[in-house]
């Protein structure tokens, strides 16, 4: 049982880390601001989410699990909102 | 090499670097940033001392950690006060360096 869960952790965390790498590469390589913004939101939302899922089997109380999910939810809300704010403002300034 | 040593060296370098920034930078905001680097360096150094003092089942010296928390709050208050003065000064003179204004001619 524990080996299965460990394997789950390894797979999800690895893929999560991969998304972080991809997001960073996007941030570095993409040509303009709005595409970079796109890369960024993908990376942190997906990467962090996968890491959270990967870590869930390892927590020892439901409260701790709830906390992990809450962190993810907060990052999701905050980053999507602030990305939207940034994108709006950049568009308005560029036009 | 141990973890306290790594961060001890890191803190020492931060203090030197921050001191350089405080002296060299002409704009006050940059001086404040540099001051905060020195402050963080001092607190980290204290933390290293606290970590080295682990014992009795504690992972560090709680006295040190308590004092560092106090220090961080005090350093923040100082930064906020300085920023407030700086912004007010900027409103008055349009400048944000410590270069002298022409002195008051009239004595009050």
């Amino acid at each position: 049982m524990s080996t299965v869960l460990d394997l789950l952790t390894i797979v999800f965390v690895s893929v999560g880390v991969f998304f972080f790498v991809a997001g960073t590469v996007g941030l570095l390589r993409f040509p303009d601001t709005l595409t970079r913004l796109h890369a960024l939101t993908k990376a942190d939302n997906l990467g962090l989410g996968l890491i959270v899922i990967g870590l869930l089997p390892r927590v020892d109380s439901p409260q701790d699990a709830l906390k992990l999910i809450l962190v993810w939810a907060l990052v999701l809300v905050a980053s999507s909102n602030s990305s939207q704010l940034i994108a709006r403002k950049v568009r308005r300034e560029e036009s | 090499m141990t973890i306290p040593t790594i961060f001890g060296i890191c803190a020492s370098l931060l203090i030197g670097l921050g001191l350089y920034g405080i002296i060299i930078q002409t704009r006050v905001l940059r001086k404040l940033l540099a001051f905060n680097l020195v402050g963080t360096g001092v607190f980290l150094l204290f933390g290293v001392i606290g970590r080295r003092g682990a014992g009795g089942g504690l992972e560090g010296d709680p006295v040190v950690f308590g004092l560092v928390i106090t220090g961080i709050v005090v350093a923040f208050s100082a930064t906020a006060l300085a920023v407030a003065i700086l912004i007010r000064l900027h409103e008055e003179t349009g400048d944000d360096s410590l270069v002298d204004e022409p002195p008051d001619e009239e004595g009050r």
């Binding site: 790498v21 913004l37 962090l48 890491i51 962190v71 704010l85 | -």
Partner: protein
């Protein structure tokens, strides 16, 4: 297993170093801010990995960062900065 989580943390740390390059290079303010946001999420990820390896309090720190990184971004947007402006030193390389 703890070893694996540490390795993952090191990898995230490396991506943080790379995205730091975007903070350094800009060119626009918004690029720097976005890179900072990615760094924030990366830091949260590292703390969660630490929480997964048994350091329970790290989850609280991550939660604090998640709450406050939003504040920094909002303060930035609302502070009246012209986001798309490039900072001065980038115009004259």
């Amino acid at each position: 297993m703890t070893e694996f989580l540490f390795v993952a943390a090191i990898l995230v740390l490396i991506t943080l170093t790379l995205s730091l390059a975007r903070v350094l290079r800009g060119p626009a303010k918004v690029d720097r801010m976005m890179a900072a946001q990615l760094l924030g999420t990366g830091g949260i990820a590292i703390l969660l990995l630490a929480a997964g390896s048994g350091l329970k309090a790290a989850a609280d720190v991550a939660l604090t960062l998640a709450l406050l990184s939003a504040l920094a971004a909002v303060a930035f947007v609302k502070s009246g900065e012209r986001l798309a402006t490039r900072t001065k030193n980038d115009k004259q390389p």
